[in-house]
């Protein structure tokens, strides 16, 4: 396989973008990526998207987006893995370039969630319809059960959960593209409206619109497009049981552990080599469980890591410097690519007030459902 690099990135603001349609969002992000690399063609496009069909009644996003980008003719397809669609689109683009089949490939992610659909019901279609959604459970409910299990097993507290939201909002306050650019206090988090006990409003990522795109090419051609390419060292994907009830330990995300192990192995690194990480904090408990499953904190210590500052900007291993899904926003299909862009910018030293000093190796972890799919990428400054 060939070595692969990311050479450019583009991203819309995340938020309730009432004036932008699904295709507008894609074109804005894609054009920014293309102009960053000063190119006007690509060999292929992968569009990560969870549910254009249910959110805005639009399927068949590959050709639609290629067409509206003025590139009808190129190979383009949609990649779907619920909220991990963006990360999976990056993985598909990576293999396309690594295999030698294509040279210049756009990996994009997008979602238009604010357009009148019943968002909670659409998202719930990423749970097991027969054993979960049919009985009325929604994602806040599933993650609430994961949180309960974690509290039971490790003594994780409401303060631990709140610490994740406080940290990510503090990071997001520094991100001009974030949906919620403001800090919150632990008291605000713990007094916000109850959604599904123990999860409250400020433990939950918002409903967002947005798109993100990165441009991939062989590493040996990267300098044609940028002075500061970022190498993709490894990719790892895995699945776990779809239904939460089928897991041996509901407080442990097997698919995350497997996908991270595979990505570390391919990259030839240890978890302790990572300088900065973006992980899938769709709910505060998710960041706790993900960081544990990826071995970047010890089992049962995910909450403490946020509370002690270990995972804060300035800490030993800053996690979700973008603000995470919680503060930056979570247009589900776009999230995996947006995480990639945060790491891309961190490794290029372009993160301004959020810059992690001397960041050489970064990773992005993107997850679908209650953890039934997970994809991890490891990146390296070149």
């Amino acid at each position: 396989m060939r070595e692969v690099a990311i050479v450019a990135a583009g991203m819309t603001r995340f938020g309730e973008l009432w004036q932008s349609s699904l295709r507008d969002l894609f074109v804005e992000a894609a054009l920014e990526a293309l102009s960053g690399a000063e190119t006007d063609h690509v060999d292929g496009i992968y569009v990560g998207n969870m549910s254009g069909g249910q959110f805005v009644g639009q399927e068949h996003l590959g050709p639609l987006m290629a067409d509206y980008l003025g590139m009808a003719g190129v190979a383009a397809t949609r990649v779907e893995s619920a909220c991990a669609s963006g990360g999976m689109a990056l993985r598909a683009a990576f293999f396309d370039v690594a295999s030698g089949a294509s040279d210049l490939v756009l990996a994009a992610g997008l979602e238009k969630m604010n357009d009148g659909a019943d968002v909670t019901a659409v998202l719930a279609s990423a749970a097991d319809q027969e054993t979960e959604a049919y009985h009325g459970i929604t994602f806040p409910g599933l993650y609430a059960m994961i949180a309960r299990a974690h509290m039971e097993e490790y003594g994780t507290t409401d303060e631990d959960l709140a610490a994740v939201s406080v940290k990510n909002h503090a990071h997001g306050a520094l991100n001009p593209k974030a949906q919620f650019r403001r800090k919150v206090t632990a008291e605000e988090v713990m007094n916000s409206s109850l959604v599904a006990a123990p999860l409250r409003l400020l433990h939950c990522s918002p409903v967002s619109d947005g798109a993100a795109a990165v441009l991939l090419c062989p590493l040996d051609r990267a300098k044609e497009f940028t002075d500061r390419p970022v190498r993709i060292m490894g990719t790892g994907a895995a699945t776990g049981s779809m239904a939460l009830a089928d897991r041996q330990d509901p407080a442990f995300l097997d698919a995350v552990s497997l996908s991270a192990g595979r990505a570390y192995k391919m990259a030839g690194i240890k978890p302790s080599d990572v300088d900065v990480a973006e992980v899938h904090d769709c709910f505060s408990i998710a960041e706790i469980c993900v960081t544990e499953a990826m071995c970047i904190v010890d089992r049962g210590k995910g909450g403490e890591a946020a509370r002690s500052g270990f995972t804060s900007l300035g800490g030993k291993l800053p996690v979700n410097t973008s603000g995470g899904l919680k503060s930056k926003g979570h247009p589900v299909g776009a999230t995996g690519i947006a995480q990639t862009i945060e790491i891309f910018e961190q490794l290029r030293g372009e993160s301004g007030d959020r810059q992690v000093k001397d960041a050489h190796i970064g990773l992005a972890q993107n997850m679908g459902g209650s953890g039934a799919s997970s994809v991890v990428h490891v990146f390296q400054r070149v």
Partner: protein
Amino acid sequence: MAGIVGYGAFVPRNRIKSEEIARQWGKDPETIRRGLLLEEKSVPGIDEDTITISVAAARSALDRAGIDPQKIGAVYIGSESHPYAVKPSGTVVADALGIGPEVHVADFEFACKAGTEAMFVAYGLVEAGKVEYALGIGADTSQGAPNDALEFSASAGGAAFIFGTRSTLADVVDTYSYTSDTPDFWRREGEFYPRHGGRFTGEPAYFKHVLAASRGMLEKTGLKAADFRYAVFHMPNGKFPLAAGKQLGFKKEQLETGWVVNTMGNTYSGSSPTGLAAILDVAEPDDLILITSFGSGAGSDSFVLRATAELPKRRGHAPTVRSMLDGRRRYLTYGEYAKVREKIIVNT
């Protein structure tokens, strides 16, 4: 210069508390009280509707105006709960008040903006010299589907304004309207309850139109927020009008008098007009008042009014809005509420 020569409001005596509605549906009452700033709302009695509310409010307006009803040349009622789909509310109201038959009558509909729309046209005809006096009313027995967020706010009440050129209580300094095709809230023919676009009703609908109309009004008159003693904005809940006022630079003291929503609820077409009536109940001569309505679909009407020396002399001729909000009330259980709002279907 045309202005308001008489005004009146009416709020039914029945109330239901947010807590009682929340309990019915297993919702957290604190979220409603703190989040939407809604304590309770008015509920129409079984025999109260847009027509009876309009008549009651207009009687008070006539009492304050002290004019012969026969001199009123136009009657306009704005509502989204006219009792009949076909057959005007205005004919019943005009007849009950002793107006006409030499009178122009029309029912208006523009979601929650229909009230200020009726006022705008009434004012325009008087200003143009086509009629001596014109009556504009905003009244509703608002619909909100059971277990919808609207159920905590949709309430009953209204206000009536008689426009004329002599002996005004408040002069209309200027008006401004702002309208666009924004489908945030609607009810189709034959449906009981309106439907809405959730959060789309906020930023791109309410705030866009209320802020644009208010800013347009300020620019047109060369006035700034600090020049006003009072301001009132359409009140779909407690939070929105305060947020809009703050964004426009108004302070709490300017907003609280007309902010009647936390105990009255959202009387739809009657909302900002009732807030205006509450302001006229206490305003002093020369006070400047800003009112901006909002109707889904969507649009806003703004008026700048200046109170005259006549206002303190004649406002005592009819009950104040506060006396109806804080006076005798009857609290309903959810069951009684369901009965009077005819939510219980009985086969006949």
